[in-house]
């Protein structure tokens, strides 16, 4: 969490650009791209992989976001998936492709590994386009407009609002503990006890702050059912983009099932 502010900047870093994806109404963009993501996650036939990659790259290019940002985004999920797909060619399948001494490589395992890797690339990329081309707050407001329960939306926005503040406070507490001789890198019962006290203090401070925040929110009209301003406006272009995305999604699912 030490670099929390960088993350906060990261997700909104490309939200103010101008592109056909940025101009797409946030609500309809979520519907269209989620439809595509769901379709990509349903594809089982590895022969469609080039098509999935092509569609994904075209959409990402249309968003105008830099490719290095995508590379950065793919690193962590890439490692997790790599740890799994690297073993599949050796343990999954029946058709022997090659034998290297005691090691057998199966054709089905390689196909499955490719399928998982490509699906990961496409879904992470589309999700990045979906969330990266609008500010985080606007995305949550759009989800609320799409019937995300009010309690959930309020919790997401407040959690996001205070995440970095609480993270910075905890980093200060740990630094103070280190300066007083706490060695967090050593395993001992006493160190776990100290860590538990630090976290316990963090919970108490957060809880007490929340009481003050709630009073401030009530003073500003929270929960009074005031008029909600409509901030989303859609037009013909939004409907066309959404229709194209959903048509692509349905076509992919049908082709995967029928061919």
């Amino acid at each position: 969490m030490a670099d929390g502010h960088n993350h906060q900047a990261d997700i909104d870093a490309y939200a103010q650009m101008q592109s056909p994806i940025h101009q797409w109404d946030t609500r309809w963009k979520i519907v269209g791209l989620l439809g595509l993501i769901a379709a990509f996650a349903m594809v089982q036939d590895w022969r469609f992989m080039p098509l999935l990659i092509l569609i994904t790259c075209l959409i990402y290019a249309a968003s105008g976001m830099p490719w290095h940002a995508l590379r950065h985004r793919l690193i962590i999920p890439g490692y997790v998936v790599a740890a799994i797909v690297i073993f599949l060619p050796f343990i999954s399948g029946q058709t022997v492709l090659a034998t290297l001494g005691p090691i057998i490589i199966f054709q089905e395992g390689i196909a499955l590994s490719l399928l998982i890797a490509v699906r990961l690339f496409c879904i992470v990329t589309l999700a990045f386009v979906m969330f990266g081309t609008d500010t985080f707050v606007r995305t949550i407001l759009a989800l609320r407009a799409l019937r995300l329960p009010d309690i959930m939306a309020d919790m997401v926005l407040l959690t996001y609002r205070y995440l970095y503040e609480i993270g910075a406070f905890f980093a200060q507490m740990r630094l103070a503990a280190r300066l007083r001789g706490f060695q967090g890198s050593v395993f001992s019962r006493q160190n776990i006890n100290i860590l538990a006290s630090l976290v316990g203090h963090l919970f108490i401070r957060s809880y007490e702050k929340s009481e003050r925040v709630y009073k401030a929110m009530v003073l500003r009209g929270y929960g009074s059912g005031g008029v909600r301003r409509e901030i989303f406006h859609s037009g013909a272009a939004d409907y066309v983009k959404t229709a194209v995305a959903l048509l692509l999604a349905i076509s992919l699912i049908l082709m995967d099932q029928l061919l």
């Binding site: 993501i37 089905e108 879904i123 992470v124 205070y162 995440l163 006290s197 957060s206 809880y207 929110m217």
Partner: protein, 219 residues
């Protein structure tokens, strides 16, 4: 312990979404039964943020040069009750959107991995709470809350990942691999159990209301 996108077959991720939707709806219904459900929203949000921060702590493990991070499912269950499942879902949404961890299609599965242990621990702790009158009883139940939270989460995680992967793998081998991987989390479970026991005792001494307990009379 997050399942990334692309791994689960459609039936698994879609089914997990459906179950997560049902559990979230039940949780929100329980939350809405109080007089002013919105009054608790800032508290739940702030605690979600605090849990998010606390779960990013890496702690050293007994074999040198190894570390793990807290999962805190059990602690969330004890402290947040019915808010625990929506709080975990929100934490996962934030991780997926802001940090790119976890996944979009696997959001439901990841919510089950973390949220089901939280609700199970909440159910158990809620029943035991009136009997937790001594330091020893709170210590034992705190340890079990942390320990069980980790092992149940590991069980659901590996059941998803191994159970739904390639159909060509022998079923017995799948079960054995799942059990071995769950057992490999025993040391993490023990450390989180100790941590949770210390944490609950600290909260009982300082703010017992945060874990639904009465202030102890000063003697």
């Amino acid at each position: 312990m997050h399942i990334p996108d692309g791994i689960l077959p459609p039936l698994a991720w879609a089914g997990a979404y459906a179950v997560t939707g049902v559990i979230t709806a039940v949780s929100l219904r329980k939350i809405n039964q109080v007089d002013d459900p919105r009054a608790a929203v800032p508290k739940a949000a702030m605690m979600t943020a605090a849990f998010f921060v606390a779960s990013s702590i890496f702690f050293p493990m007994p074999p040198p040069m190894t570390s793990a991070h807290f999962i805190l499912s059990g602690t969330m269950g004890v402290m947040l009750g019915w808010y625990a499942f929506p709080a975990i879902l929100i934490g996962l949404i934030l991780q997926a959107i802001v940090f790119g961890h976890g996944g979009i299609t696997t959001l439901g599965a990841n919510a089950l991995v973390m949220g089901v242990p939280a609700l199970m621990v909440y159910g158990l702790f809620n029943r035991l709470r009136p009997r937790l009158t001594s330091d020893r009883s709170l210590w034992i139940s705190g340890f079990l809350a942390g320990f069980c939270g980790v092992l149940i989460a590991a069980g659901i995680f590996y059941a998803f990942v191994i159970g739904t992967l390639p159909a060509e793998i022998n079923q017995q081998a799948e079960i054995n691999a799942t059990l071995i991987l769950i057992l490999s989390h025993l040391p993490v479970g023990v450390v989180e159990g100790l941590f949770t026991a210390f944490l609950l005792n600290y909260l009982r001494r300082t703010r017992p209301d945060l874990i639904g307990m009465q202030q102890q009379p000063v003697t």
